[in-house]
C-alpha cells in the first residue's frame, strides 16, 4: 500500500504544474537559464549582476546554476557574469549595462532579459 502510495504521489508530483507565485517565476527562470548551465562548466565561478530585480532572483539563479559558484554581492564581479534585468528595460539602458563587455549569450522570457557576458 505504501509503495503504491509513494508511486502515485511521485507521478502526480512529476506532472504537477508550478502554480504557486514563487514557483511560477522559478520555473520560468529554470527554463531560461538552461542554456547558461550548458555553456558554463560546473567547476566555474560566475557573477550574477541584478539590475532592478528582486533579491530572490539571485537565490534562484544560484540554485539553478549550482554547483557553479555564484558569489553574493562580490566587490568585483568575476570575469564571466550573468546580467539579469526586467524585460521592460529599454534598449539604451540595456546597451549601457553591457557596454565594454563581450556578450556570450542573451535570452529573454516574459519577466527578464538575460545577458551572459565576459570582460
Amino acid at each position: 500500500m505504501i509503495v503504491a502510495a509513494v508511486m502515485t504521489a511521485a507521478l502526480r508530483y512529476a506532472d504537477k504544474p508550478a502554480n504557486e507565485p514563487n514557483n511560477v517565476e522559478m520555473h520560468k527562470l529554470s527554463r531560461s537559464l538552461a542554456p547558461v548551465a550548458k555553456l558554463i562548466p560546473e567547476s566555474a565561478t560566475i557573477g550574477c549582476d541584478l539590475r532592478g530585480v528582486k533579491t530572490e532572483v539571485f537565490l534562484w539563479t544560484r540554485y539553478f546554476l549550482a554547483p557553479r559558484y555564484v558569489p553574493y554581492k562580490p566587490v568585483v564581479l568575476p570575469d564571466t557574469s550573468l546580467m539579469i534585468c526586467p524585460v521592460a528595460t529599454n534598449d539604451s539602458l540595456l546597451q549601457e549595462y553591457t557596454a565594454g563587455r563581450v556578450i556570450l549569450w542573451s535570452g529573454k522570457d516574459s519577466l527578464y532579459h538575460y545577458f551572459l557576458t565576459r570582460k
Partner: protein, 407 residues
C-alpha cells in the same frame, strides 16, 4: 509483547534511506568517484539485506493487524495521497530551494560538492541527511529530477509518521490509534511541513522511531540497534538532532548501555556520528548560534520578557498549527488525575526536549521575534508526533511495561 512487524519495517525503511545518504556523504569526503561510491553503497545494501534474512527469523508481532485495521490503514493512506497533493510545491518551500535542495544540488556533483561550504549565508554547517538522499539518487538517475527525489523522501517520512503511530497504538486500541492517525493525516500544518522538502519532518520521524524502538530495548538487542540507528539519523539530519540525541541517551541510559547493549548503540550511531564529526571538523563553518554567544547571553537568560514572548508564541503555535494535541493532552491529564496510568520517562523526555528548544530561543543571537516567527512552528513540528505517540502509548499502559518504563 514485541514490536509490530509493520513498525519494524517502517523504521527499517526509514533508517535504510538515512544510512544510504550518510554513507554517500561519508564516501564523498574520501574523494572517490561516484561510480565507486554507488558500487560500495550497493554492496553494503546487499550485505545488510543478507544479514537481515539470515539473522532475523523471529516473528516480530504477536498481534498482527486485523483486516479491519488494515482497511483503516488503507483508507488513511489514500486520504493522505489525495489531501497532500495541493501542499507539495514544485520546488518546495523557501528553505528547500535556499538550503536543503540547494545543498543536494552540490551533493549530486561529487567533484564539486565542497563548494557548498563557500556560501556562509546558506547554512553549510547543517547536517546533510536529507540533501544526501536527494543528491545520491539524483546523480544515480537524473540530476534534473532532483526535486522529485526530495519530494519522495519528504512524502515517505510524512506518511511513515502517522502509519507508525497507528501500527503501535491500533493493536491495543483501534479507536485511539485511528484518532491519532486521522488527526495527524488531516492536519494541514503537518502536511504543509511534511512535503515542504525541509528536514524537520525527517527529524520528527527518526526521533519517533527511536522512541518506538527503545520501548522494546530490553526484549531484544536488535531493537537497541534500531533505536541507535534512528538516533544516528537524528544526528545527521539537523543540528537540533544533537540536542535530541543527547537527551534521549540521558533518559534511556539503562536501556541503551546496560547488559552489553552499549555495543549495539555504538554500532548504530557510529557511521552517522563519524560523518558528522568529520564534516563539522574538516569542512563546515562554526554554527552561528554557538560561535556568536557572548557575555550578552547572561543578560538574555535573566530577561523575563524573553520567556514571556517565547511562551505566548508557543501557545499561539499550538492553537494555530497543532490543535489536535490539545485534545489528547486533556484526555491524558484527565486520565492521570483519575489515576489511570502514569507518565513514563519517554513522556518526560519529550517535555524536556520542548524545554530545551524553549531555551534555544532564550539564548538565540538572532532577533527573537524574527527567530520565533521563522522557526518555532518547525521545531514544534519535530516533536509533536513524538508527543502524540507517547501520550497515546501512556494512555494504554499495561502492567507488563510498568516495570520497564516506570519513571
Amino acid at each position: 509483547m514485541s514490536m509490530q512487524k509493520g513498525s519494524a519495517h517502517i523504521i527499517f525503511a526509514g533508517v535504510s534511506a538515512g544510512f544510504v545518504s550518510t554513507i554517500y556523504f561519508l564516501l564523498l569526503m574520501t574523494g572517490l568517484p561516484f561510480i565507486a561510491i554507488a558500487a560500495i553503497i550497493g554492496v553494503a545494501a546487499l550485505f545488510a539485506g543478507w544479514a537481515i534474512i539470515k539473522y532475523n527469523k523471529e516473528e516480530e508481532s504477536t498481534e498482527p493487524l486485523s483486516r479491519f485495521k488494515h482497511l483503516i490503514l488503507g483508507i488513511g493512506i489514500v486520504y493522505f495521497v489525495m489531501k497532500v497533493y495541493p501542499f507539495g510545491e514544485r520546488y518546495g518551500g523557501w528553505d528547500a530551494w535556499s538550503i536543503w535542495n540547494y545543498h543536494a544540488r552540490f551533493l549530486a556533483h561529487p567533484e564539486n560538492w565542497q563548494k557548498l561550504t563557500w556560501y556562509r549565508i546558506c547554512h553549510p554547517d547543517y547536517p546533510m541527511l536529507v540533501p544526501g538522499f536527494a543528491g545520491f539518487f539524483a546523480r544515480l538517475i537524473s540530476v534534473d529530477a532532483l526535486e522529485l527525489f526530495s519530494f519522495v523522501f519528504s512524502f515517505n517520512v510524512s506518511l511513515f509518521i502517522p502509519v507508525l503511530i497507528f501500527f503501535e497504538i491500533a493493536p491495543r486500541s483501534v479507536i485511539l490509534g485511528s484518532a491519532a492517525y486521522f488527526l495527524l493525516l488531516g492536519n494541514n500544518s503537518f502536511l504543509t511541513e511534511g512535503v515542504s522538502q525541509y528536514a524537520d519532518t525527517a527529524l520528527a520521524f527518526f526521533f519517533l522511531c527511536g522512541l518506538v524502538a527503545i520501548k522494546y530495548a530490553t526484549m531484544h538487542a536488535k531493537y537497541v540497534l534500531l533505536a541507535a540507528c534512528s538516533l544516528g539519523c537524528c544526528l545527521w539530519t539537523k543540528n537540533e538532532g544533537m540536542v535530541l540525541v543527547f537527551l534521549f541517551v540521558l533518559f534511556n541510559f539503562r536501556e541503551l548501555m546496560f547488559d552489553g547493549r552499549w555495543r549495539y548503540l555504538l554500532l548504530g550511531v557510529s557511521i552517522p556520528l563519524l560523518t558528522l564529526v568529520l564534516y563539522k571538523m574538516a569542512y563546515a563553518p562554526p554554527n552561528g548560534m554557538i560561535a556568536e554567544q557572548s557575555a550578552n547571553t547572561l543578560a538574555q537568560l535573566t530577561d523575563g520578557n524573553r520567556y514571556t514572548m517565547i511562551w505566548y508564541s508557543f501557545v499561539k503555535n499550538i492553537n494555530d498549527h497543532f490543535g489536535f494535541i490539545k485534545l489528547f493532552g486533556v484526555v491524558f491529564l484527565t486520565a492521570l488525575l483519575l489515576g489511570r496510568g502514569r507518565a513514563d520517562k519517554r513522556f518526560l523526555l519529550v517535555l524536556v526536549c520542548f524545554a530545551a528548544y524553549f531555551m534555544i530561543y532564550v539564548i538565540t543571537v538572532e532577533d527573537l521575534k524574527w527567530h520565533l516567527f521563522t522557526s518555532q512552528n518547525r521545531l514544534m513540528h519535530q516533536l509533536m508526533p513524538a508527543l502524540l505517540y507517547v501520550i497515546c502509548d501512556n494512555l494504554l499502559r499495561t502492567p507488563e511495561r510498568e516495570t520497564v518504563y516506570a519513571s
